[in-house]
Structures are given as C-alpha cells and as structure tokens.
Symmetry: C2
C-alpha cells in the first residue's frame, strides 16, 4: 500500500477539487492510502457527499493555511499548523511516501527543502514540470527552486531528470539538453560553459546544447537550466500562448467569413486546448527531496489532482528517491 499525504486546503479550487480528485484516485488505484490534511470538519463535510473506501482515507486536522502571496520561507517557519506544514512534517517523519499540494509554489519548495530536506548526495532539490512538445513532453529542471546555481547543480539536475523520465515516464534513454544561447559546445555564459563540460563526463544521454527555439521541438526529454531561467521561460510560455491566442481570436472576429470559419473550426481549438491541458501532465516535482513532493498547478481541477496522485504513486512505486541517492553516489558530482 502506497501512503500519500495530500494538502486538502491548497489551490484555487480547494478543498472541493482536491477531495474530488482524491476520491477519483482512490477508485482508480486500489493500492493507495491517503491522508487528507486540513480542517477536519470541512474535509468531512465534502467527503460526506462522496462514495469511497473509508479504510483507505484518514483526515489529519490542520487549522491554518499558507496564502499564495505570503513570503514562503517565513510562512513555512512560523505557521506550524498550516496544512502544507503539517503534511510536510508527516512526510519528513515517514508517515507517508509522498506529498501532494496545489498550494503556493514557493511554500512547497521552502517546505520541501526545510522540512522534508534533500536526499543524500543531492546538492539542491529542483522544481521540475513537464512541458508539452510536439512529441510528448519535456521535463524542465529547474523551473524556480534555485535562482543562483553552480555548474554542478545543473549536472545533478540532468542526472535526476534523466532518472525520472526513465523510471516514471518510461523513456529508455532520455535525451538531455542544456539550455544555452547557441548550439555549439563553446557557447554559453560562465555557468553553462562549465556545466557543459561536467555533463559531457556524466553517464547520461547528454545530447548537447538546447537553444530556446528547440526546447519544445520534441528533440529532448529533459532540459536543464538554473531556476531563474527556468522560471522566466515557463511563465513566458504562458505569455506567448495567451498572446498568440489573443491575436488569433481578434483576427478570427474581424470579418463575417472568418467568424463562420472559426465556428466550424471550433472543435480543433477544443482539441488543441486538451492537448495543451496541464491537467494531463500531473504536477511539477521537487526532484532531489528526500520524499516525493508533487506541486500540482494552483488552478488544478479534480482530474489534475487525480493525475498528480497517480504521479506520486508511480514515483513511490519506482522508489525514485533511492534510485537518485544511489545514482548520485555511483556518479559523484563535485
């Protein structure tokens, strides 16, 4: 039985979406046991309306909540009774194998780092979401946990990302790219030039530099960069999509003919929306923490939560923390 700890109070649609998603997951996976952390009476009330296996769920009372706008390190340190902190604490104590939250990203990273802590041999845990590409997805490591990095951090991000894509996503020999300002080996800033040399000496499928235009090309399974670049990129992707869709909409509404065309083409846009749907991709991982930590999207609906639970279950099933520890011991990064 995989024991998963879930923050019932985090996210835009909490607790409804979290509880609905949890119940869906319990129905789909008979080998999971979940702790739902949050206000007992609120969770109890939502659960009342649901059918589920009562033997595989336990409510853990936590009276406080961390707000999205709070300075995360301070919140994690002082709000001892927040659902995020109580859940992280239980995870650290080994009461569960993995923790799932749709709450504040900053607090999830701070809690993962300060409470659950890093796994042995890991220098810095990194936040890693899967971005959609034309052929499947690409894991972006780091998208915001470490804004200032040493080259060896990037080397470890690459190794950890590779282990994840191989064992959890099932890609036999993940192609790893270093996000850089040119394709040639000699390109880069002082960080990436040095990281390139370290990556060449690493026992993974390092295929070279990934330029910005190639990140979503499907030519990479993992791309690594410092958390500053990753954060700006991930949010810029959102910005580009909303810019382009805004422009398309404006143009489509510009004449009667294109309006009719748009109405007929609508199923295509719905299909596209589904393909780009983050809810399919589960959450971002805090790779390198001493337990599975999954940060689901803040606007997660029930399906997204269910998928994040699936991801946490697979992460646990594949014993990923142990694999990372062992791999980093066999391939020491200095």
């Amino acid at each position: 039985m995989y024991r998963l700890i879930i923050d019932a109070m985090g996210g835009d649609h909490a607790p409804q979406a979290i509880i609905d998603g949890t119940v869906m997951a319990l129905q789909e996976y008979t080998d999971i046991f979940v702790y739902l952390v949050g206000k007992r009476e609120v969770i109890g009330q939502y659960l009342q309306e649901q059918e589920y296996d009562r033997d595989r769920i336990e409510i853990i009372d936590a009276r406080d909540e961390i707000q999205m706008a709070e300075p995360p390190v301070n919140a994690v340190r002082t709000k001892k009774d927040a659902s995020m902190v109580v859940g992280m604490q239980m995870t650290a104590e080994g009461k569960g194998d993995a923790f799932i939250t749709a709450g504040s990203t900053g607090a999830a990273v701070a809690g993962g780092t300060l409470i659950v802590r890093r796994a042995q041999n890991v220098l810095r845990p990194a936040l890693a979401p899967i971005l959609p590409t034309t052929k499947g997805g690409v894991l972006l490591v780091d998208c915001g946990a470490n804004v200032d990095c040493k080259p060896v951090f990037l080397q470890q991000f690459a190794i950890m990302g590779s282990i994840y894509m191989k064992n959890v996503v099932g890609i036999p020999n993940p192609r790893v790219g270093l996000i850089n300002n040119g394709a040639e080996e000699e390109k880069g800033n002082s960080l990436t030039k040095e990281a390139y040399q370290l990556l060449k000496g690493t026992n993974i499928n390092f295929v070279g530099n990934a330029e910005g235009r190639d990140i979503l090309s499907g030519n990479y399974d993992v791309v690594v960069c410092d958390g500053f670049v990753g954060n700006v990129l991930m949010k810029f992707m959102e910005g580009c999509a909303s810019f382009l869709f805004g422009m398309i909409k404006e143009e489509l509404l510009s004449s009667a003919r294109t309006k009719i065309g748009a109405a007929l083409a609508k199923p295509a846009f719905t299909g596209l929306k589904k393909q780009l749907d983050y809810t399919e991709y589960g959450g971002a991982l805090l790779l390198g923490a001493n337990k599975g930590i999954i940060k689901a999207h803040g606007s997660s609906n029930a399906k997204a939560i269910k998928n994040a639970i699936r991801q946490a279950r697979e992460f646990t099933k594949m014993d990923l923390v142990e694999k990372i520890k062992k791999d980093l011991q066999d391939n020491p990064c200095k």
Copy 2:
C-alpha cells in the same frame, strides 16, 4: 543627407533582397545616401535592373564574406576584406552615420564592439530587438551581446532602451521592466536583485519586475535582462509560436468540418502572420555602439531591409548616440 552603410552580402536572400530594399528606401527617403558594400560586379549587376537615383549610391568593393557558422570574433579579426568588416571599418572612420547588415548576428556584435566600439560612458553595447505585443512592441535589451552581466550593465541597458523608445519610436515616457522570477521587489537572483536597486535610483520610468508571462502583455515598452536570458527568451518565442501553430494546423486538419472552417478562417491567419511579421519591426539595434548598428533578420526580404534602413535613418536623425552619451554622463552608472 544621412549617410548609411549597407552590407550587401549578408543574409539568406543577399544580395537580391538587400539591393531591392535599398532601392525602395532610396525612393522613399530622399535625404539618404547609401554605400553598398560587397563584390562590385555582383552589386552592379543587380543594380542594373533597377531604377534609382545614381547620385545617392556608391558601391564599395569588398571581396570576402563572413559565413553564419564562423566563430564571429575570429572572423571579424581575420577577414579584413569581408563586406561586414569593411562596412564596420567605414562606419568607425565616420564615413557613414549607421551600418545595416542582415549577416551573422555574432559577427555584427563582434564587429560593433571591436571595430565601431562603444560610445563614451557606455559599459557594454547590447543587442535590442523589438518584440510584438498585444499593444505595439516591446524592446528587449539585451538579447545576446553580453551573456555574463553585472547589475550596472542592466541599469545602462534600461537607460539606453528608454532613450531609444522615446526618441526613435516616439513613446513619451517608456515603461521599463526588469525581467525577473517574481513580481515583488525582493525576488530575483543575485544579478537582478542588485539591478532592481540600481534601477530604482535611475531617472527613467522604471515600473518594476516583469515576469515571463507579462513580457508580451503590452505593459512594458522596454524589458531588460542579461544577454543569456534574452537570447534564450527570443528564440523560445519562436519555438512557442511554431509549436502552437503546428498544433493548430494538426487539429484543423483532423476532420472535414474543421478543414472547411480552416479554409474560411484563412484570411485571419494571414492577417495574424502580418501582425507577427518581423519585417515590420526593422532590425535589432546594437545599442551603445559609437554609431548606429542595425542587425536585420537573417531571412530579411526587401521590405525588411527597407524598414531597417528607415530605422537607421531615424536613429541618425535623432542623434541617438549623442543622446545616449549625454544621458549616461548626466546619470553616471557605477
């Protein structure tokens, strides 16, 4: 008369597109004189087919060319007879007010820095393209000239970008954003945290941090970052657009209904393409060089070259180099 020096041999469609664009510009602007630099007989042959004012054009013979894949600094240093190097040399010697090339970006930056050199008080020239937004355009400084930056470089990028948008694009009080991994003042890596404090003390309209999702929102006229981040972002924008359009196309072709819709909606996509058309935006500037240096897109057609020439003319007309020198003297950056 504004004297502009044009690299006739650089770019995917050189020399045809360069010469056609030059002739278009000569017809539109009667106050420019151009030097076309490249193989005399080749330029002469293309010019033969055109009607233009022969008194406002002069061919400067240059026998060599810098290829796109060449290591740029080395190429600029050794290929003394390349059209790019001859043109830069003439610009440095004051034979012209501005230089335009659609050749290698690296060579344009290297040539600008090593031959034309930086203007007085400028610490580092920066490459600055205009990106389209929902409301006009935003100047991105730096998109690749300086991959490792000190905070004060970013401060100067902001000042120079602001001067450009005010004087050449005509925006009264350009809103300047610092590209960062969060909106709050305390967010950032070591570079941007320090740059934020410097920018606060600068006499420009600094409106705070710009997150990735806001870069194209139209809320900024200038956004600044180091050249590594800028390069990755600019190419990622290309990658996002081609990813999204690829997905849309695939979805539109997925059923008979959406195919008909797509055919009817086609004018909208053509309109959109026009709005995103880089040829409308001219080229990227090497801001802070001692003369106007315009790097047109490698795949520039004649219209794009004409617009880059217009940009060079406006840059010269507004005496931008002197304005930058003076402004940086009045507001010393340390």
